[in-house]
Amino acid sequence: MTAPLLRVEGLRRHYASGGGLFGRARYVTRAVDDVSFDVMPGETLGLVGESGSGKSTTGRLVMGLEEPDAGRVVFDGTDLTSLSSSQRKPFRRRMQIVFQDPYAALNPRMRVGDFVQEPLLVHGAEAGPDRVAALFRTVGLDPAFMQRYPHEFSGGQRQRIGIARAIALRPQFLVADEPITALDVSIQAQIVNLFQDLQESMGLALLFIAHDLSMVRYLCSRVAVMLRGRIVEMGPTEAVFGDARHPYTQALLSAVPIPDPAHERGRKRLAFDAGGYAFPPAAALRDLGGGHFVLMGEAA
């Protein structure tokens, strides 16, 4: 078996809020709580869960945009969390991120060509206009657009620009944080196809954070389900979708709308109170076989 490209071990990030100048914080949000997973080279791991479950925070921690309170992010054998920012720089060209909001993700005061070129400059790579033009073509944009500013582009085009920047350094690993959530239905398929093409041509591994479970099922080989900062179920996509074991996963899957009226009329949604759910004591991910893990208490 090959070694994982990315290994996340016991990652934790808690946010304190509401504290006064002297007093202790009143609330602690356990945004990410003991999260572990692997991503193999070229693989797509889906990360799903309700909003606020810690998906984006996990993505930021993996990218080193934020420091974890505990845990390790091991990329290709190197523990990134122990590195200084200059030691980390070479890894920056090997892992990149694409954001959800195509409006906030581009610098409104920078020509999009310069924006795509910037990572090449920062890392001293070949950054001529031909290289940038090639990147534009790779993501399906006309290189003639290089001189324009972001406000002249539609949401889908902006997302392509963000992707062009992210793949400029030919990374091996990409975090895609809800890259299609804000896009129109007719544009989503374009972007998903683009990701797939890139993956095939570059051997890219993806951490695909998403809302849309149908798309995750379609695109990802494995999926992890998050609930209030913890992974409650993880495994090969078909195992999780076909044989969900955690009540939250079951509820989630039972709620996905399917574009088929007959199916919808017969559907029975399962109730699950995500806010009120209590994790069993000493809960840990346990292997059901075939790499299908479920969060369970000791006794279960």
Binding site: L65, R88, K89, R93, Q96, I97, F99, N107, V122, R165
Partner: protein, 285 residues
């Protein structure tokens, strides 16, 4: 820029357009004053003391706005004074703006103790009366053009710092800044390429409003004898000198006063308009 121009020429922009026009005329006058073939603003002529204004523009040697107590031509003094005033105010605004923007950027971007110290300084300075601060510094360092610019810059940097810092806090969280960090861009690069361009417009708005304030402040200091020194003409000085003759020769104090008022009005109109122009967007972003 095209957008700015279009908005200025719309009906709702006429006040801003008026301000901009006045200011342009003023700057042109200040720049091309020496070529206007006006009497030397510092040449005294005791035989022509306190000549009343006359409307005969083209008659040779006439003083359209009259002369002062030493027989100097008021129109040429106002124009010459505008050079000094605008130069001093412009330099002060530029210096204060650059300093304030830089400190605001650093404060907002790095946060932590740097931020706490800088913002405490800002609070303290905002609590002090400006005139008092300026007076203290000039009294300590002595009046000179350079000190004057320095003092004026010193009293105005805080407003930039404060506004810019607030904007940085908002921009810093936006995803393109995170993206810059993700590609490994250095702090100076992130600040200069990604944050600065997105906080520049509010800083520009502050600059126009500060320009008006600084002009008034300079006039005040000169009026008190702590600003521009004679025989160099300055509006503040002219006001101070003319004060004594207000009942016998009203024009000595009235015309420089009017010039000052118009300038401040123009700058304020433009500044208010700029603020309204940019503010709705700033709120949305």
């Amino acid at each position: 820029m095209r957008e700015v121009w279009r908005a200025l020429t719309r009906r709702s922009g006429w006040l801003g357009l008026l301000g901009a026009t006045l200011l342009v005329v003023l700057v042109l006058l200040a720049i091309f004053g020496p070529w206007l073939d006006l009497p030397d603003p510092t040449r005294t002529n005791l035989r022509a003391r306190m000549v009343a204004p006359t409307l005969s523009w083209f008659s040779l040697g006439a003083h359209p706005l009259g002369t002062d107590q030493l027989g100097r031509d008021i129109l040429s003094r106002i124009i010459a004074g505008s050079r000094v005033t605008l130069m001093v105010a412009g330099a002060a605004v530029l210096l204060g703006g650059v300093l304030g923007t830089l400190l605001g950027l650093i404060s907002g971007y790095f946060g932590g103790w740097v931020d706490r110290i800088l913002m405490r300084l800002v609070d303290i300075q905002l609590a002090l009366p400006l005139m008092l601060l300026a007076l203290m510094v000039v009294a300590a360092l002595g009046p000179s053009l350079r000190n004057l610019v320095g003092v004026l810059a010193l009293v105005s940097w805080v407003r930039y710092a404060r506004i810019v810092r607030g904007q940085v806090l908002a921009v810093r969280e936006r995803e393109f800044v995170q993206s810059a960090r993700a590609i490994g861009a250095s702090h100076p690069r992130i600040i200069l390429r990604h944050i600065l361009p997105n906080v520049l417009t509010p800083a520009l708005v502050v600059a126009t409003l500060e320009l008006a304030r600084v002009i008034v402040l300079e006039a005040g200091l000169s009026f008190l004898g702590l600003g521009i020194q004679p025989p160099d003409p300055s509006w503040g000085r002219m006001l101070a000198d003319g004060r004594t003759y207000i009942s016998s020769a009203w024009w000595i104090i009235t015309f420089p006063g009017l010039a000052l008022m118009l300038t401040v009005l123009a700058v304020n109109l433009l500044g208010d308009w700029l603020r309204d122009f940019f503010d709705p967007r700033l709120a949305v972003r």
